[in-house]
């Protein structure tokens, strides 16, 4: 059963209230920014296409909070949340998506290519599977340069059927690379249910083909995601090699742009909204006895930081014309 069996999520005493509130804030900022991006898209401020992660915030926040300072992360075109979870500034992120000079990539990358190496976000890739081989390289290079860092790699359920997935997991296992292959199984690849694209029962089971551990986790439970990722990170750091994590979740919006997602069965979205990762974390905070005021305060703060970020981003100028010719070569 892919659908979480309950709303409540188990507590983890090792996570202080502050940490949980930090996760809530991060998840709220991500969702808030995604909503602003959707709004900007409908206003033609976002070019091409954009892929939002509303509903999947627990996965990126739970996983990225399990990383250390020196660790690295790569993700996909659906990577706004992952990049923000690593600590990328909201304003520069939004500025990139609306193509401004102050954007993370100076406006050259856009929604599908957010990169902020200062926070360890080494890139968002728009070719399915293309960044898995690169995640291996980041782990290998770090090891070679004596940098004790782990490489976290986000990708989707649909990406597990492409060749690069296979080659990457195998090589990571053979070289015992410190990589976390984090599969966000949001049940669909574009408009196709994942079960229509493979006969394997659980994507996590594919780890067996590479002699690596595979674990499936409730991707809407930020604490559970944090725990399994922390274990995988510890394992990777110890030199024991990579782990495949299948985080089962759901995207509230369509695949991209204005996809109405009519291919979803009646009521599916509603059921998943009941287990919205934000609601579930909020519930946990309440059972911990954290006052409504503190939670509301966090929500207000998140809202405000998103508002000001969007404001400053939209005030920024477009890239200067000569930027076109820069950065082709070093």
């Amino acid at each position: 059963m892919e659908y979480p069996d309950r709303v409540a999520i188990d507590d983890d005493p090792s996570l202080a209230d502050g940490e949980l509130l930090g996760m809530l804030r991060s998840m709220l900022e991500i969702r808030g920014l995604e909503d602003e991006i959707q709004r900007a898209f409908t206003k033609d401020l976002v070019r091409g296409s954009t892929h939002l992660c509303n509903g999947q915030e627990a996965g990126v926040v739970g996983a990225c909070t399990a990383l250390a300072e020196q660790d690295t992360m790569v993700c996909t075109y659906r990577g706004h949340g992952a990049v923000l979870a690593m600590g990328a500034p909201l304003d520069a992120t939004f500025a990139e998506i609306v193509g401004r000079e102050t954007g993370l990539c100076g406006g050259k990358g856009g929604s599908m290519h957010l990169t902020d190496v200062r926070v360890g976000a080494y890139g968002s890739f728009a070719i399915v599977g293309a960044h898995l081989p690169i995640a291996n390289g980041l782990a290998l290079g770090a090891r070679q340069r004596g940098r004790d860092s782990v490489s976290l790699c986000f990708f989707g359920d649909g990406s597990t059927n492409i060749g690069a997935f296979h080659e990457s997991l195998n090589l990571a296992a053979v070289w015992s690379l410190p990589v976390i292959f984090f599969c966000e199984n949001n049940l669909y690849g574009e408009y196709t249910p994942w079960r229509a694209t493979t006969r394997v029962e659980r994507l996590a089971d594919r780890a067996a083909s590479y002699g690596m551990p595979g674990v499936r986790v409730d991707g809407n439970d930020v604490v559970a995601v944090h725990q399994v990722t922390a274990e995988a990170v510890a394992r990777a750091r110890s030199g024991a090699g990579p782990t495949l994590i299948e985080s089962v979740t759901y995207r509230h919006r369509g695949h991209s742009r204005t996809d109405p997602a009519t291919y979803r069965p009646e009521g599916e979205l509603d059921r998943w909204l009941e287990v919205d990762p934000v609601l579930r974390l909020r519930a946990l905070l309440t059972t911990r006895g954290i006052g409504e005021d503190r939670i509301a305060g966090t929500e207000a703060a998140a809202k405000e930081s998103v508002r000001t970020a969007v404001e400053s981003a939209l005030a920024a100028p477009p890239p200067r014309p000569d930027a076109l010719f820069k950065d082709v070569y070093a």
Partner: protein, 325 residues
């Protein structure tokens, strides 16, 4: 329904081919139940069934390979790769298998595969979804490459591609999907390998495809007002290329401009300029001009991408510069 746009023409060509020939089938990611990422196969599964319009996993190598094998067994596959840039993940299947299978086997097999690719820049899809991918396959003998630049050609070249006994890469420009049809009359197959003189003129020959062909037509209008007549040629097929039509035109105008969307290195435009410079040197009064995009990946921001794409003004300037002599 009567076809009114480039996108509908491509859809209709597939529908008509499916109707006309029971061996034709379509495969690709989200082309069936969802009708395609660009809706170019919308409704075809409903009309022809899941056996003839097949969804696939995200596995481009498997898609092209399935098309190759099925073609050899007597079917006529039309494989959609969605964004042309995804040809990178199945390049071997196209360049090393599809293109060479017949030759390597000494002609024992025919491989009538059509590959549909949504090509080109102009819409803010950034570096990995905006490339002029036709230039990746020019040096792979065995392939045919078409680049329809009108609603009629979109329909006609796709019908011909599907009917062709050889592999054909069908590059549809995704910025032209909503291009409106201007001419009337029946849509019909357009022979592969025949250029079209889109507009006659005697002063300068401009060779261009798709978006750049549109620029050329606009530029020709503007120049006409200045009394300069521009002959606009759309090659329509890049491989095999119709050099005869271009040579004929150059013999008349003595001036050649090739305008293309991508950068110059290894491009079809450079190939044409080199060939015409060699074959028609005596006809050329002036240096042939190749207008291309700069040697950079395609940037995201609107202003940058607009600056990257060659445009009408650049072309008009080039024409004027020639006319000054």
């Amino acid at each position: 329904m009567s076809v009114t746009t480039y996108k509908e023409a491509i859809r209709q060509a597939q529908a008509d081919a499916l109707k006309a020939d029971p061996t034709v089938f379509l495969l690709g990611e989200d082309i069936a139940a969802a009708g395609g990422a660009f809706k170019v196969t919308d409704g075809l599964m409903e009309s022809f069934g899941g056996e003839r319009v097949m969804d696939t996993p995200i596995s481009e190598q498997a898609i092209i390979g399935a098309a190759i094998g099925a073609a050899i067994m007597g079917s006529r596959p039309v494989a959609e790769l969605m964004f042309a840039d995804f040809a990178g993940v199945c390049f071997d299947q196209i360049a090393n298998q599809l293109a060479k299978y017949r030759y390597m086997s000494g002609g024992q097999v025919s491989v009538p595969v059509t590959v549909r690719l949504a090509n080109g820049a102009g819409q803010g899809f950034a570096s990995q979804h905006s490339q002029p991918v036709e230039n990746w396959f020019l040096n792979c003998p065995g392939l045919k490459i078409v680049t329809p630049g009108s609603v009629e050609d979109a329909y006609g070249l796709l019908r011909s591609a599907i009917a062709d006994e050889d592999p054909v890469l069908f590059f549809e420009h995704k910025a032209m999907y909503n291009l409106k049809r201007v001419r009337t009359g029946e849509l019909a197959p357009v022979p592969i390998g025949q250029a079209e003189v889109v507009r006659e003129g005697g002063d300068v020959t401009v060779v261009a495809t798709q978006l750049m062909r549109q620029c050329a037509e606009r530029a020709a209008e503007q120049m006409a007002d200045l009394g300069v007549t521009v002959e606009v040629i759309d090659p329509r097929t890049l491989v095999p290329f119709d050099y005869g039509t271009v040579a004929e035109s150059v013999a008349k105008t003595n001036r050649l401009i090739v305008m293309q969307e991508g950068s110059a290195g290894g491009s079809w435009g450079a190939t044409v300029v080199a060939r015409i410079a060699g074959d028609c040197f005596e006809s050329l009064d002036l240096a042939p001009v190749l207008i291309s995009a700069p040697d950079t990946p395609v940037p995201y921001a609107g202003g940058l991408e607009a600056a990257w794409l060659p445009d009408v003004d650049t072309l008009c300037e080039a024409i004027k510069a020639m006319d000054r002599y």
